[in-house]
């Protein structure tokens, strides 16, 4: 039942009108700005974004704390990140994002641990600064090998007027300039995770870069030093990316922030080029490093062979012929693997349609990987994108793609019900809704506990996973045979 372009545009319009009817008038007006169909040739997707979510509609979004602790800071493995406030935020985000790392947890690495100040009523009433002071001492006593401490503020911190900056400065002085970083990522700030990314980036600028001791952790620079920015190493993504950059002759001096260390953050301004995967969460620090340290940055996309190939060449374009040749060598090296993966999976996936709703870079970045497998993305949207994300999306989506920003549970369910894609890619909160409806689903935040999906090694896994989701025999069992 493939529709012509005009038919699908008309269908989208009708669909959007239909869902808007369910809202009270005032809300319908606000939501209308977030829903549209992409028109070829336009400079963005013609939707508003990065605006407050509407109360009571079941937004999929999270908060600034999730953006800072959960995304940017949490993966820095040799630091201890205190979830400062009540117990819940740290508990729900404990080790759930699959930021892989190598280290001895509890001794020199702390990524899959939950450190919390577990605020009680008295901390709210009398303030938590004294407790924080004591917590830092207890951390130093029990985890002597930690390289630094970050304080990830939960909602109450900013509301009760705690001065975590003062505590951080005082303790750092007391502890021989130990790195202690206050982060004002209270969950009520901003409209989504997005502001949390920005706040976390700024905290690195102010409390890491501006305090770095140039005599510490020195290494000999090379002309080929790059840093991977905005890869959280979910299921090992940064590793299957790093391997390609190194194979083409570059030297990766830092990973931000998956499997990252404080020393890597500190040394990043020495890079010759920052390569930026998740633009949304780390463009801020990339721009800062460009302005302050003169480190240029380039966006890249390591999902699927077409985009990987283009990205390797783009990155190599910033270097000499040795690297350019290296890029070609890498592309050639993986050609056979890529072709074999496509030969195996494309016939099983050709023509299948996909609807996405994810965060960060994925609503656009993964489209190429689907297309390499012969699949079409017919709808996409960002949990917390800004207009610059929707502008970038125009390079990826096809004419007539349904666009939904900060989609509500209601809208997403209706869209999928009507569009009937062969696959939905979104998060854990959405997964079971669509599977109940009989629609194959993959989590595109956590890779559904699989991965990596980045790089050539990741593409094979991506293809395998999409195939197993769509072509599972379970989907032919959802209707009882005696039911017409």
């Amino acid at each position: 039942m493939s529709l012509t372009l005009e038919e699908s545009k008309a269908r989208n319009k009708q669909l959007i009108d239909e869902v808007l009817k369910a809202y009270p008038e005032k809300t319908a007006k606000r939501r209308a700005k977030h829903l549209n169909t992409f028109e070829e040739g336009k400079s963005d997707c013609n939707v508003k974004s990065n605006i407050k979510s509407i109360p009571g509609v079941m937004t999929i979004r999270g908060c600034a704390y999730a953006g800072s602790k959960g995304v940017v800071w949490g993966p820095i493995k040799d630091m201890i990140h205190i979830s400062h406030g009540p117990v819940g935020c740290g508990q729900y985000s404990w080790a759930s994002r699959r930021n892989y790392y190598i280290g001895t947890t509890g001794v020199d690495s702390f990524g899959t641990m939950q450190f919390t100040s577990d605020f009680q009523e008295k901390d709210i009433v009398f303030g938590g600064d004294k407790k924080l002071d004591k917590i830092i001492d207890e951390i130093q006593e029990l985890f002597p090998l930690n390289k630094g401490i970050s304080i990830q503020s939960e909602c109450p911190i900013g509301l009760i007027g705690d001065d975590i900056e003062a505590v951080s400065k005082r303790k750092s002085k007391q502890l021989n300039n130990h790195t202690i970083i206050p982060v004002r990522c209270e969950g009520f700030r901003g409209v989504s995770q997005s502001l949390g990314h920005h706040i976390a980036n700024d905290a690195i600028r102010d409390w890491v870069f501006d305090k770095v001791d140039p005599e510490k952790n020195k290494f000999e620079s090379s002309p080929y030093d790059v840093a991977i920015i905005g890869d959280y190493n979910i299921g090992g993504d940064a590793w299957s990316s790093r391997i390609l950059l190194e194979e083409m002759g570059l030297r990766v001096i830092a990973q931000w922030s998956g499997d990252g260390t404080l020393a890597e953050l500190e040394n990043t301004p020495k890079a010759k080029l920052n390569v930026l995967h998740c633009y949304r969460s780390m463009n801020y620090i990339s721009r800062h490093m460009e302005e302050k340290y003169g480190v240029p940055w380039v966006e890249y996309n390591f999902f699927g062979p077409s985009k990987i190939e283009a990205s390797l060449r783009e990155i190599a374009g910033h270097f000499d012929d040795k690297i350019k040749e290296g890029a070609e060598r890498v592309i050639a090296k993986y050609k056979a693997l890529t072709e074999a993966v496509i030969a195996k999976y494309r016939p099983r996936l050709e023509g299948k349609t996909v609807m996405l709703f994810v965060g960060g870079l994925r609503p656009r970045h993964v489209i190429g990987a689907y297309e390499d497998l012969g699949m079409n993305v017919v709808g996409t949207g960002y949990e917390f994108g800004h207009n610059d994300d929707y502008q970038r999306t125009t390079h990826y989506v096809k004419d007539g793609t349904l666009i939904y920003d900060d989609v509500t549970g209601f809208e997403f369910e209706k869209f999928v019900e009507k569009v009937q894609p062969d696959l939905v890619g979104s998060g854990i909160k959405e997964k079971y809704v669509f599977q109940k409806m009989g629609v194959p689903f993959r989590q595109m935040h956590s890779w559904d506990y699989s991965g990596p999906y980045h790089g050539y090694d990741g593409f094979g896994i991506f293809a395998r996973d999409m195939d197993m989701a769509i072509n599972s025999p379970v989907w032919s069992l959802t209707r009882a045979p005696w039911k017409k």
Binding site: G56, T116, L142, G451, D457
Partner: protein, 519 residues
Amino acid sequence: MPQNAEDILDHATLFRQPEYVELFENKKKNFEFGVPADRVQQIVQWTKSVEYKEKNFARDSLTINPAKACQPLGAVFAANGFAKTLSFVHGSQGCVAYYRSHFSRHFKEPTSCVSSSMTEDAAVFGGLNNMVDGLANTLNLYKPEMIAVSTTCMAEVIGDDLNAFIKTAKEKGSLPAEFDVPFAHTPAFVGSHITGYDNALLGIIRHFWDGKADTVPKLERVPNESINFIGGFDGFVVGNIPEVRRIFKLMGVEHTFLCDPSDNWNTPTDGEFRMYDGGTTKKQVEEALNAKATFVFQEFSALKTSKFIGEHGQEVVALNHPMGVTGTDKFLMELARITGKPIPPELERERGRLVDAIADSQAHLHGKKYALYGDPDLMLGLTQFLLELGAEPVHVLSTNGDNDWAAKVQALFDASPFGKGCKVYPKRDLWHMRSLLFTEPVDFLIGNTYGKYLERDTGTPLIRLGFPIFDRHHYHRTPIWGYEGAMRVLVMLLDEYFEALDAKTNDIAKTDYSFDIIR
């Protein structure tokens, strides 16, 4: 090349290939500026010491790897147990994303819940507008028959008044005046998820019994013979409630579950998404006032609710997650006492089969040492069951268990010869447990998914019971309550015992003489 199209390697094996091993080594050597390996090993050993344990137990401010969550999570659990009810959490929206994810990861089911999405302006001016708009949107979009409101810590810190806000929202036309909006203040900085369950459940019961926030007359109690059942916050609720229902039916007891999410978190995959399925109806809540008694299966999960119900003229039988033989016996005998109905032969036979199974297997569990952690009532039920198996619950720890709870655990220890030398740890976390497992090792650990880190570090095999269980599927679908549930727990304990024994005796030509075919 590490990857291969014919046999795709994912993270579990891909990164063991030599190319990646080399990559890891170079990254570490050149850029991480980490701690030298011998120093790391020195600290590894030190964290296993008694000296470290003492320092660890001396901390009074830092919490590490706690076994508890915050109040609103429990409130969402409670609301999910009522028919066509949508949970509405007033405060920051990120919290709601977390609760929904947390439950979905455990139950492998959707969890519907909305937020009032308060942001900085609401922090300054209060969240009234968010409540007014939010309730209207929720009603229009999701068509619930009841909206159960709870709060995040943000709304609590700024002091939003739910009662007044809901009233205002109705006056402004967000909802019909008679629409049921029970509410509960659920500050995350007080208690834990079980407190939130209690507050939210109380909010709903009080709403219906005590005049719907002064809008209708309070209900008059007209006593009948029926029995109410409150399960408490329970990760196995999907399996447990049907088991209790079966017992009630076998006993011929009229009953009402006050909070039953066992359908909502157990919907079929048949082409339709059911946002609401099953659950306690409003009519049932109202009629529950007339019941002869209320059974509270987890006392610490319903302290305030129990008190409230008791004050409304009913007997409240508060139990502590009864499980195993003695625990289930007590539940049934209390049920028989209150209803005057005999315990039927079917149940007696089930009991006999359970005792039969224990008799068959007890030698394998006798004297085995266990460490367990989790919610206070689960710990009490499990402690009692282990003691009656002749096992020793050496370390019993709860992050959200207080001194009253600890006294109850101690009483169980004191009543059994197998409790000698066992110790209870209230208000402690899993980092404390780590020290205990190193300094006073046990044979097995019982806890939720997070216990796998303890299993990895200390080598103590983990048996998964409690909440959340993310890394094993479908445990929650079968009961751990009743004689049947005890049978299942018994098998879990035995399975882990036999697996561990096999793993210890499978070294060829060294230990495999004990690799017995019959055990």
